[in-house]
Structures are given as C-alpha cells and as structure tokens.
Point group: C2
Chain length 210, copies 2
DNA sequence: CTTGACACATACCAACCGGTATGTATGATG
DNA sequence: CATCATACATACCGGTTGGTATGTGTCAAG
C-alpha cells in the first residue's frame, strides 16, 4: 500500500530537478537577469503553473540553482580533491591540467557559472552576493586549509600566507577562465594556466628545509 | 562670423558626451542588458528624442561607450605608463600599489568596466565580444611589449614567455578585482594584489646575468 | 524676414516580462 | 465512494522595455 517514494524518485521532485537544470543552463548562457522564465519552460516542456508551484518567484529559483546545482558541482569538481591532500600544490597542478575543465568546448566559452553570477549579481542584489560569496569563500577556505596542510607536510614554503595565497589562486584561475571566455581560445587558456602553474611552483618549499 | 565650434565645444557634442558618460555609469552599475535607457535619460535630464537622435539604438550606444569612454580611460590609466618603460616590472608594481585604482571605494565594488562587459556580453553578442576582446588584447599586447623591452634591458628573465605572461598578468589582475568586488573587502583586494606582486618578483632577472 | 536644417522634446506603441488567478487531472486517505 | 490536497496547465494582467512618429524651438544662411 505504501508507494515507493524516496527523495529521488518522486515525480514532483523530478520536475523540480528538471527545472533547476534548465534554469542553470539558461542562466549560464544569459546571466540571471536576462534569463527568460519562458525559455526555461520551453526547454523543460513545462508551464508557469509548474514553475511557480515549486518556486515563489524567479529570484528564489536563481538562489536554488546556486544551492542545488552550482554548489554540488563545485564541491565535486574543485573542493573534493583538495579536502584531505597533504600535497596541495601537486593536487592543484593536476586539477589545472585535467582537461575535465573544458570537456565541452562550448561550455568553456560560457565561463565559470559561479564567477559569471558573482560578476553580474553581486553589485545588484545583496542576497545573491551573500550566497555567492559564501560559496566562493568556502572554495578559498578549502584551498587555504590544503595549503596549511602542505606547509606541515613541508611541500609548501613556510612563509606563504595561506589565506591570501588561496584567495589569489582562486582569483587568478577565475581570471584565466574569464579572459579565455572572451578570447575564445583554448590555446590562450592553456597558456594562462601554465603561468598560474609556474606561480604555484614558486610556493614549493626548498628541498633543504627540514 | 564663424562661430567657435571645435570638436569639444559644439553643444550637440556636449549632450552626446553627457549621454555617453551617463550610459557608462548606468552600464557600470547594472551591466549593459539591464541598463535602462530611461534611467540614462533621467540622469542626464534629456529625452528619448535626444538619445535616438545621436544613436540609432541601445546597442550602438553601448558600443560607443566602449570606444569613447572605456578605451580612453584604459589607455590613460593602464596603457600609457607601460608604453615606453624599460622596467615593466617596476612600472607594474607601481601601478598595483597606486591607490588610484580604488579612489572611490564605491567604484571598487562595481569592478572593472571592461571585465564586467566582457563577462556579460561576450557569450551573448559577437559584436560586443570582438570589440571588447580587441581592447583586452591591446592591453595584453602593451604589457607583452613592455615585458620584451624589460628582457632587453635585463630587468626581466629571458625565459619568460612575454605573451603568455602578459595574458596571465592581466587575467590575474582582473580576477583579483572581480573577486574583491564580491567580497567587498579592500583588505582582501590588497592581499590579492600582494600575491600578484610576488608573482611579478619571480619574473625578475637574476643579478648575475649579463 | 524667410527658410530650412539641425537638435532636441513629447507622446505614443507593440512586444515582452515576471507574476497571478483559476481551472483540472491525479492520487492518497478516511 | 467522498473528500481533499498535490501537481500541474491555461489564460491573463499590469508594468516596463526599447523604439518610433511627430511636434517644436533654435539658429545659421540667403
């Protein structure tokens, strides 16, 4: 008698998820403000009744995209590999060289969803800014924590300021992605990452250290 | 009999200039797509008749802002100091430390106008992308040329790839500005610039070189 | 003084936007 | 079977947008 309905199989949750993903794609293409609710509905084949049943308004939908799409993506992609490593520099180098960052070349030209939203929404809406900045700060904290572990493991020089350096690494990476998105050149992107890679090398502890 | 009317004093050019600057401010605050034509008119005290007399449409106005406001600004601010220097690293360091980059703290939170527009418009409109990328590429070229001069003058290491490095420097700087705009922290911004400064130091030629 | 082009102002429009009000099919529950 | 909430679909609304059509003041030329 009890129908099977865990969190993932309930049909209403599936439609909700479909809308979140369609909204993410639309926002990724056009930004949040220019994202068309109608287009999201066209993409999903759903209607306004469906959307506004699950979300009170467009803004809430956008915030939900951050929490339920972008954050999990970033967590799996960028946070996870760094969470327990004691060689953060090696791990970061591997991350930079992993081609997974631009599997789909079309996706590269759209840039980093997090950065896109930060640039657009932070000056315009405080709610967005706080949520986006929390995600960004989490990222920086993950990198900083990894750098500190690297210092204890003597992979990282003792005199590097973990927090500032982590902030810079993430900023420079986002900068590289952003600039390459305009240039539309994978070569330029790789060249840029190479320089970032060189910078990471300068953080390495000298072999002579204890 | 001949009225004094050089390029700057003609009244119609003044109104045009007023609109360009108001448009720049509005775009800087809200991005191009979200920029309201009506708001620009309110700011200038002018009307639609005036605007559409000087510009055929909103898009042309936006492109004119890039050519006639942003480009001159960037040229004076970032290009000029690098144009003939033979110590690019010192010049760049000075540029980074010059507080002129954030005279008005409110302006900092709005980010770099060039980068803002690139992030927003490049994936959405090819005309914008080409024009913005040309300006960005000019910037990179100026830095690259300076680095090459620095190599001849033995301030810069011979093994640095001027073009890639210039691209990275500009990208990282834009990244720092962008991230700090979200964080809304001048301290974070300065910390980020400090790391960029450290990176620049690693480009210095060793004293022992010829 | 007249003319006519330029530089705007005023009034207005069609299109589209996010959001709402309401109708309906489904399915669980008592 | 009756009831009632959930999960949507359909139709529509007020507001705003970029853009246009037209009117008007100014000013230089003839």
């Amino acid at each position: 008698m009890m129908k099977r309905m865990n969190a993932t199989t309930k049909t209403s949750d599936l439609t909700r998820q479909k809308m979140l993903e369609a909204a993410f794609a639309e926002i990724h293409r056009n930004g949040f403000q220019a994202a068309s609710v109608s287009q999201i509905l066209l993409d999903t084949g759903l209607t306004k009744g469906a959307l506004y049943h699950h979300f009170p308004d467009k803004k809430t939908l956008g915030l939900a995209v951050i929490d339920e799409v972008i954050r999990p993506f970033m967590t799996a992609m960028m946070f996870a590999p760094l969470l327990e490593t004691e060689q953060p520099l090696s791990t970061l180098q591997a991350l930079l060289q992993s081609k997974s960052m631009f599997n789909d070349p079309a996706e590269v030209m759209l840039g980093c969803p997090l950065n896109n939203l930060m640039q657009e929404m932070s000056p315009v809406d405080e709610t967005f800014r706080v949520k986006l900045n929390a995600l960004f700060q989490d990222w920086v904290d993950v990198v900083a924590a990894a750098l500190k572990r690297g210092q204890q493991a003597s992979e990282v020089r003792q005199d590097v300021l973990a927090n500032d350096t982590a902030f810079f690494i993430v900023s420079a990476l986002e900068g590289c992605i952003g600039m390459s998105k305009n240039t539309q050149s994978v070569a330029a992107f790789n060249g840029c990452l190479m320089q970032l890679s060189h910078y990471l090398e300068t953080l390495k502890a000298t072999k002579t250290a204890a």
